[in-house]
Structure formats: structure tokens, C-alpha cells
Amino acid sequence: MELKMLLIISVSAIFVSNFVLHRFLGLCPYIGVSKNLDSALGMGMAVIFVMSIASVVTWSIFHYFLEPSPINIIARCFHKNPPDLTFLRTIAFILVIASLVQFVEMVIQKLSPGLYRSLGIYLPLITTNCAVLGVSILNIDENYNFLQSLVNGFMSGIGFTLALILMAGLREKLELANVPKSMRGTPIAFITAACMALAFLGFSGLTIN
């Protein structure tokens, strides 16, 4: 039962409710970094990593510190009724994500300076990637447990990367195509995205029984 739920979450995150093509999360890097396949892949990997870690860290912070539930730290240590701090969710989550991205930046700079250079400004921009904050909030809204949040974060990252790589592949071909002058660049990218979104709509109803 648990495994089935995780499978459903995975299929949903990658195909049925793809983060970019269905939920509209992660669009800025989607349009900005999808010009060539290599940087798209690098960005995708970074985002998967950040989304997975952010999912579990924000989940933990919410359930152990903010929400007045029996596992709240204050309930556990002081045996008192913990205050309802859920209104601090947005600010806590975004600060955690910002720190996480800072950390990932330092790691990439050390491990792969080439990737660091090619990602350029888009690496710190992962902080403002709606997908990261989006998946953190979605995990809470859908009442997922720890493992489900981790899987959702990881799989949503995969869905994002999938859409990104598909778009990068298409755009590389589009560069050589005869596009009308006013449609060159972003407009035709959006039209392409429209076709991809249409294709992914075909996954609606895909479920595991």
C-alpha cells in the first residue's frame, strides 16, 4: 500500500501533473536555460538535488517546529501545548531554500568549475525557482509523510528535468529552422511548450490500480 502510494506520487509528479507543463512551476529557468542541452542537464541535476533536500528539510521544520502536533519539539521536550506557528511557513521555507542553494553553489564551484561557469547566474536563481518552494508547500498541503515528501520532491525534480531536456533538444533544432522574425527566441519557445503541454495532457488519467 505504501509502495503503491509512492508509485502514484512518482507517476503523477513526472507525467500526469508535470511541474512545468501542468502546474506552471519552474518556468523562468525553463525558458532561460533550455537553449542548449548540456546546461539544461546540469541545471536539471542541480534542481533535482535542491528539490529533494528542500522537501525533507522544510517538511521537518514544519512538522517539528511550526505545526502544533504531538511530534512538535515543544510538545516533546516541554510537554506543553505548542503554539501554532504555521504562519511562519513561507518565511521559514524560503530562507531554508536560499541557504540550501548557497550551499549547493559552493559545492558545485568546488567539484565542477566548468558546470559552475556554464550555469552562471541561473544557479543562484534556483532560489527563486517556483518549483522548489512549490513542492515544499505542496508536500504540506497534501499531508504527505516524510518518505512521501522526499519521493515527491525527487520525482518532481525529475519531471522538471525531463521537460527541460525535451525543450532544450527541441530548441537546438529550432535555432536552425526558418522561424518568422517576430517569433524568434521566446515566442516560438512558448508555442513549443504549448505543444508539449498538449502532449502531456494525454497522460491525464494515467493511474496505478
Partner: protein
């Protein structure tokens, strides 16, 4: 730049959605109806205004190295205020906009303007910039929403436009319609810009 130009640049020449390509996620997600578009636009305008004012006020005391986390904290505070007030007083709008209200905090426009403008200019100019960008964003949102709602639902702001014989193009309300609308609009604006420069020279 004159004060008036400062204001209009946000609406036309530096429109955050159509020219700067910032804040796209909420634009595509909340443009399913004009009512949602106005709600989201006003929420963003409010946060943009408040954050620009505060960032501009403290600009001489913020250490450059930690300015981004400080800006983020300020923006997150105002976004949470909007979230709470909407949940309490406009529950229907809060429900339709859903996830995208807290996502205002990662709207590139707000952080972008704080970093690029409010942190370096006076409070008065920052207010003008906030209004210009905010209204430009809202106008772009309403434009896209108008196309999507009229074609996809046959209504505008809830009022039926076409008669009962109109078969709405469901695609416009769904995600492909959003991408299609914004792609065609930007393409049209590019063409219009090119046409203007050709005919003015």
C-alpha cells in the same frame, strides 16, 4: 529619467512580463479568469510597493554581502501578510489563487526590483517604480486572462459574452492555452515594435 518616464517604463518599454520575462509562473497559472488576474495583480502590486519602500528606506544600512537574505525576509513577511489577510477576508479569491499566493515571494519581479532599483534609489522613486512595474504586471495578466477567459469560457469577469450557442475552447483554460496565448502575444508585440521602428525611421 523623468518621474513620468520612470512610471511608464514599467508598463510599456520594460514591462516585466512581456519584455523582461520575469514572474512567468503566476502569470500562466492565474490567468484562467480575469477575476483571478486582478486579484493576483493587486497582491503582487501590494507586496512590490511595501518591499520597495522598506528596502529603499534601509538601503544605506544593509551590508552588501547579506542583502539578498534580508530582501527575501522582507518580501516573505509582506507575502505572508497578504496570504493571511486574503484567507480571512477574501476566502474565495484565496482559494482560487491557492499555491500561488505564497509563491509571490519567489516572483522574480519583486526581488529583481529590490535588487536592481529600490536598493539604490530614493523612497519616492522606488514607489513610482513599484507602481509602474506592478501595474504593468497586472495589465499583462489581465490581457492574457482576457483572451483565455473569453475564448475558453465565453465570459469576461464572469459576465457571459457570447450567447448559449458558443462552444468554449476548453484548451484555452488548460495549460497549452496559456503557453499559446503568451507566445503569440509576445510574438505580436515583437512584430509591433519592429513595425514601429521601421515606420519611424
Amino acid at each position: 529619467m523623468s518621474r513620468f518616464k520612470e512610471f511608464t517604463k514599467g508598463i510599456f518599454s520594460e514591462n516585466p512580463v512581456f519584455r523582461l520575462m520575469l514572474g512567468l509562473c503566476p502569470v500562466l497559472a492565474t490567468s484562467t479568469s480575469v477575476k483571478n488576474a486582478i486579484g493576483m495583480g493587486l497582491a503582487v502590486l501590494f507586496v512590490l510597493f511595501c518591499s520597495n519602500v522598506i528596502v529603499s528606506l534601509i538601503r544605506n544600512w544593509v551590508p552588501a554581502k547579506i542583502r539578498i537574505p534580508i530582501y527575501i525576509s522582507i518580501i516573505a513577511t509582506f507575502v505572508t501578510i497578504v496570504d493571511l489577510v486574503m484567507a480571512g477576508y477574501f476566502p474565495e479569491l484565496h482559494h482560487s489563487l491557492g499555491l500561488f499566493i505564497p509563491l509571490i515571494v519567489v516572483n522574480c519581479i519583486i526581488l529583481g526590483r529590490a535588487e536592481a532599483f529600490a536598493g539604490k534609489h530614493t523612497v519616492f522613486l522606488s514607489i513610482i517604480d513599484a507602481f509602474g512595474m506592478g501595474i504593468g504586471f497586472t495589465a499583462a495578466l489581465i490581457t492574457i486572462a482576457t483572451f483565455r477567459e473569453i475564448l475558453g469560457n465565453g465570459t469576461w469577469l464572469g459576465m457571459t459574452i457570447f450567447g448559449t450557442g458558443f462552444e468554449p475552447v476548453l484548451l484555452m483554460i488548460l495549460s497549452p492555452g496559456a503557453f499559446l496565448t503568451i507566445g503569440l502575444l509576445i510574438g505580436f508585440l515583437n512584430w509591433f515594435e519592429h513595425y514601429r521602428t521601421v515606420h519611424h525611421s
